[in-house]
Symmetry: D2
Subunit: 341 residues, 4 copies
C-alpha cells in the first residue's frame, strides 16, 4: 500500500501517519521525492483496509499496490532515484562508466589501469578482490590484499571504488573499503547477503542472476530496500539462452521495462553479456541507446595475460574508442548536427 | 572451398576456373566484389583437393572453408552486400526503414499509412496480405486483394513493397507484386520455400526463427543463395527465452556477430521483439547502435483497432519521434556536437 | 463453443443443430464420443450467444470454451481419441512403437531394418524419404525412390508406414504411400501444410516445434482438425534450452499436461530429444512412465554408417533391449511382482 | 590428474604417492573403491607431468583428466558412491524417498506428516526451517524453532532429517540437527556455503540451480568434495525454459548423463519441477525410469492451507499412490509378469 501525501505536508503530519501504520502492525517507509512525498507500507500478508488512512491530515491518496515488489516500484516513487558517490551522480542525466579489471592482480596492473581509465573519462573504478568462480581450481582473487590495492588506487586517482562482496563473511571488510558494494549475479538470491547489504550505508550494485525474471530481480532489490538501504543500482549482465554465438544474451528489452516500472538506476555490463571483446562496444552503445543509466566495463591493459575473463576485457585503446563519443548514445542528449558518410 | 582470383583477372580466366569446378562435379558461384573477385565452390560432400585449382591462371589462393555456411560468409565475400531496391540502397551507410501496418486491412488504412510513413522518411512500405497466424480462427489476411491494395499504395507513394510469402503456393503471386519478398520467422526452415525464393529475382528478407542458432539462420540464407539469389537481407526479430516482461527477447548480441561472419545486410524488427508499443523505440535505437543496417517497423494509424498485432504497432506520432533523429544512432555517423541536459 | 447433446439423441436432431449453427455463419463439428455426443462450433471471431441453441431438441448444455484451441481440447471430447492404422490401435491401452531408420538409404537397409524391428515387436515402420536438413549441402533423402522402397518394405513386412511430408508440394505423393503422414518439427507452423493435412484422410503425426508453447502446439493440431481430419497424433521431440549435455531437452512435463487438456494421443521421439544413443532408452522409458501413448524411435542396423542422425539411432541390440520390457513402463499396466536386486 | 593404484596396494604405498603429490605443490585425494583404488590430484593450474608418478610402487596408471571437474567424475571413481544415513543406503539398488512438507509450520503438522509418510514407506523426512523466498514479504520459515520441531519428529518416527542451510550463518545450527544438509538451487553457486559444506561431516544434498549447465552443477559439487566431504547427493529440480505449462522443466536428459559422467547419487525433486500437484507422480515415475536413485517430494496433509508451495505438494492419498508401486519404476528391478488392461 502507498500513502500519497500533500506536497505541502509537514514533518509532524508524516510522523502521525507513520505511527498509525506501526500501530496496525505494519512498517512505514517515508519516500521523499521532488514532486510528491509518499509513504510506502509493507509487512502486510493480507490486503490492508485503506480507509482509516485516507482521513489523516496531509493524506491525498491511498493506493493499493498489487505487484509483489513495492519499494522498488515507480508507483511508490515516481521520481528517478539519483545516487551520489564521491561527487558522481548515478541515475541522473549523464551516463556513468564504471571501468577496471575483472580481478585485481597486482598493484601495478590496478593503478596503471585506474590512471588510464580515469584519463579516458571513467567515473568509478571496478576490480574484483574476492572472485566467485565456477571451479574451485580457478584463481579466486587476492582477497584482503586486493582490497588494499584498490584503496591505494583510489588514493592515487580519486576514483570511487566498486567491488564485490561474495558473502556475508567478507561484507564488513568489503564495506570498509568499497564506495559501492557489488552483489554478483550468482548471489542475487543469496538472501542473507541481501539483508546484510540492506543494513549497509554503502550504495549497492545488484547484478541480475542469469535466469532471473524481472520480478525476481526487483524482489532481490526489495530485500535490500526493505532493510533500509534505498541506494540500489540494478545491473543487467546477460541471461542464459540457447544461443551459442555469445557467452550470454544481453536482455536489451529489460532496460526500458525496468525504467518504466522502477525508479532505480539501471546499469548494463556489456563485458559479461558479450563474452568477447569485439562485441563489447556495440552492446555498450545499444544499452545506452535503450535507456541505461551507465555501464560496468572490464578493461585490462594486457587482456591476454588477465587471470580471469581476459577474452571479454577491453584493451585501453578500445576503451578510448568507447569513451570518445559516449554522451551521444544517451537518448536525452541532443546532437547538433549529424553527418552520415 | 573458396577460390580467390587475381584483382586483374579477366572473364575468360574466371570461366576456365568455373568449368574445372563443374568438371569435378561441383557448383561454382562467382562472387563479384569491389576489392577482390572470388569463386565459391559448393556441392562437395567430402573435402575437395585444392591443389589442381591453385595452378590455374588468375588464381591467387584457394581457401578451405570449414564452417557449414559458405556463400553467406564474409570469408567468401569480404565486402558488404548492398542491395538496391527502387533507388534505395540496403546495407549501405544510411539506415533503411521499412514501415507499415502488420496486416493490410483496407485501401484507406494502407494508403493513409503509406503516405504518412513516406512523409516521415520511411524508405519502403511493409504490409501483410497473407498472414501466418498461430490460430486457425484468427484473421488470416486479405490475400490477393491485399496484394492489390499494396500495389495501389505503391502507385500512390512510390514506396517499394515488402510483403510475406507464407508458402510456395502463393510465391508466384507475391513475387509479381512485391519488390522484396519476406520469409517469416515460422518459415525460416521451410526448405521448399527457401529454394523457391532462391529461384526468384526479387531480394528476400529472411526473418530468424525464434529458436534458430546463428548457424541455422545463415544456413537458411545459404539455401536461398545456393539456388542463385544472392540478395538476402537477414532480419532478427527476437528469440524465445524464459523472460516474461517482453513478447520475445531481442538478441542484440547477434547483430555484431552476423556483421562479422557474414556480408549480408542485417535488419531488426523491434516491433515483434518488444511486443508492446512503448519499448519499440528504445529497441530500434539499440539495434542501430549495435550496427544494424535497417529496421522493419509496424506502424498503424489507429493501433487499437488493428486486426493483428495492434499492441506492438507504433502510432504515427511515435513513428515520427523514431524518425526524427534516426541517422544519429548509426555508429558511422558523426554528430557535430552533443548537448546533454 | 461446445454444444453437448443428450446421450439418446438421434441423427436428425444433430442435423438440426448443425443447420442452425451454419445459419449463424459458423461451422459445426459433430464429435462422436462413447460417453456423450457433442458438437463443436468454430468460426466465430466474437463470443456467440448460446441461448438460441439451448432450446433445440436433444441439447443438454452449451459450454463457452475460452481457450484458443477447441477441437483438440478434452472439454470438446472427454474420451481419448483412438486411431486405428492397419490393425494397430494408437492411443489405446498398449504403448505403440514406430521404429525405423532416420533416412531411407537403400532397399537392403530399409527392408532389413523393417524385418528386424517387426520381429522385435515394432508396430509401425518409420523412414524419411524427403528429409528437411538445416544445410543445403546435406543429404536430402531419396525422394520418390525412398517412398517406393518404403512401400516395398511394407509389402514384405506388413508394417504400416509413417513418413514425412516436408511441404505441400510433395503431400499428394507422400499421402499415396504413407499410412500416417508425419509433419516435422520445423513445419509445425507451416500453415498451408497443416491445412493440406487437414484435407487428407490419412492420420497425421505432428511433431512439436522446438520452441513451441503447449498452446501453439495444440493450435497447430487445431489447423488440421478444423479442416476435418480428426486423426492427429501429437509428438514431443525435445525443446531448445541452454543445456549443452543433450541435443535438445525432452519436455517430460508436457506429456501429462497434454493428456490432461487434450484427447489426442501423445507420442515421444526419444531419439531427437537425446541426440546420443546411450540416453535413448532412459528417455523412452521415462516418456512411457509419464503417460505417453507411444514412441517414435530411430533404429539403424549400422548407425555409424547412417547418412543422417547416426549418433542418435539405436542399434538393433539396443532396440531389442528397449522392446524387451516395454509394457512394464505403462502406468496402467500391473506387474505381478517386482524383484529389486 | 588421476593416479590409479594396484588393487593389492598397501597403505604405505598410497602414503608415498600422496607425499610426492604434496611435494609437487598439489593436493592428493585418495578415493577408496571396491574395484580399484585411485588418488585424485588437484591444485594444478597448468598440466602436470605424469612421468615421475608412473614409477612409484603400486602405481598402475596415470590418467590426465581434461574435464574441469575431477573428484565428481566417474573417471576418478568408477564405482557408484553409496551414502549411508541412519541405516538407509542412498545410491544403492533401491530408490530412496525423502518426503515431507515444504515448510515446517507447526509441531502437529510436522509430526503428523512424518508419521504418515513413514507408514507409507518414506525413508527420510524433509522440511524447511529456514526458507529462501523470492519476496522479503513471504513466510521465511520458523528458523531455529523449525529445527527443534524436526528433531522432535525424528525422535517420534526415527526418520533421518533433510533440511536446508540457506547460508553459512546458520550452517552450524542446521548441521547440529540435520542428518543431511540441503543446499538449495539458489545457493548452488554460493561458494562460501559450498566450502563450509565441504568442511562438514554431514552428507550434502545439492540442488541444481535453474540455469546451471551440467558442468557448473558438478563443479559446485566439486567445491564440496575438494574440501574433503565426499558424500554429495546431486538433485535435479527443473530448469528455466520458455515453457508456460509448468513451473520449471524437469531436465530428464541430465539424469542418465550425470550417472554416466559422475559416481554421485542423483535425485530428482518432481514437486518443484512440476509446480502443480497432478503432474508430480508422472514426473516422479519418469525420473526413476530414467535412472534416478531417489526422490525428494513435498507432501502436506492439507496442501491448500500450506504456508508455501501448497500447489505442488502431494496430498497423503496421492503420496500413497506414488509409493504403492515405487520399486517397479527402477530399471534394475525385474517385474515377474505384466498385465496390460
Amino acid at each position: 500500500m502507498l500513502i500519497v501525501m500533500n506536497p505541502h505536508v509537514n514533518e509532524r503530519e508524516v510522523e502521525v501517519v507513520c505511527r498509525r501504520i506501526r500501530e496496525a502492525g505494519l512498517t512505514p517507509h517515508p519516500i521523499p521525492g521532488t514532486t510528491r512525498v509518499a509513504i510506502g507500507v509493507t509487512g502486510n500478508t493480507a490486503p490492508v483496509d485503506p480507509e482509516p488512512f485516507r482521513e489523516l491530515p496531509g493524506v491525498v491518496d491511498v493506493i493499493r499496490v498489487t505487484r509483489p515488489y513495492k519499494l522498488t516500484s515507480r508507483e511508490m516513487r515516481p521520481d528517478d532515484t539519483i545516487i551520489e558517490v564521491g561527487g558522481v551522480r548515478i541515475g541522473a542525466e549523464r551516463p556513468v562508466v564504471i571501468a577496471g579489471p575483472c580481478s585485481v592482480e597486482s598493484y601495478e596492473q590496478t593503478v596503471e589501469t585506474a590512471l588510464r581509465v580515469r584519463s579516458l573519462g571513467a567515473h568509478l573504478l571496478r576490480g574484483g578482490a574476492f572472485k566467485p568462480r565456477s571451479s574451485p581450481y580457478s584463481f579466486q582473487g587476492l582477497g584482503v590484499r586486493g582490497l588494499e590495492i584498490l584503496a591505494e588506487a583510489r588514493a592515487v586517482t580519486g576514483l570511487p571504488l566498486v567491488t564485490e562482496a561474495v558473502g556475508t563473511e567478507v561484507f564488513d571488510r568489503v564495506e570498509q573499503t568499497a564506495d559501492v558494494v557489488q552483489i554478483g549475479a550468482r548471489s542475487m538470491q543469496n538472501f542473507p547477503l541481501l539483508k546484510r547489504a540492506g543494513a549497509s550505508r554503502r550504495p549497492v550494485l545488484l547484478k541480475r542472476m542469469m535466469s532471473a525474471t524481472l520480478e525476481e530481480f526487483l524482489l532481490a532489490a526489495e530485500y535490500i530496500m526493505a532493510e533500509g538501504n534505498h541506494n540500489v543500482i540494478l545491473c543487467e549482465r546477460g541471461i542464459r539462452t540457447f544461443g551459442e554465438h555469445s557467452r550470454y544474451t544481453l536482455d536489451i528489452n529489460i532496460i526500458p521495462e525496468l525504467k518504466r516500472v522502477s525508479h532505480l538506476p539501471v546499469f548494463v555490463d556489456p563485458s559479461h553479456a558479450a563474452g568477447r571483446r569485439q562485441n563489447v562496444i556495440p552492446l555498450a552503445r545499444a544499452a545506452l541507446a535503450a535507456g541505461a543509466d551507465g555501464l560496468l566495463v572490464e578493461v585490462h591493459p594486457a587482456p591476454d595475460q588477465a587471470l580471469s575473463d581476459g577474452m571479454q576485457s577491453l584493451t585501453l585503446d578500445a576503451f578510448e574508442e568507447l569513451m570518445s563519443d559516449l554522451p551521444r548514445w544517451t537518448p536525452s542528449a541532443r546532437p547538433a548536427e549529424v553527418h552520415v558518410p
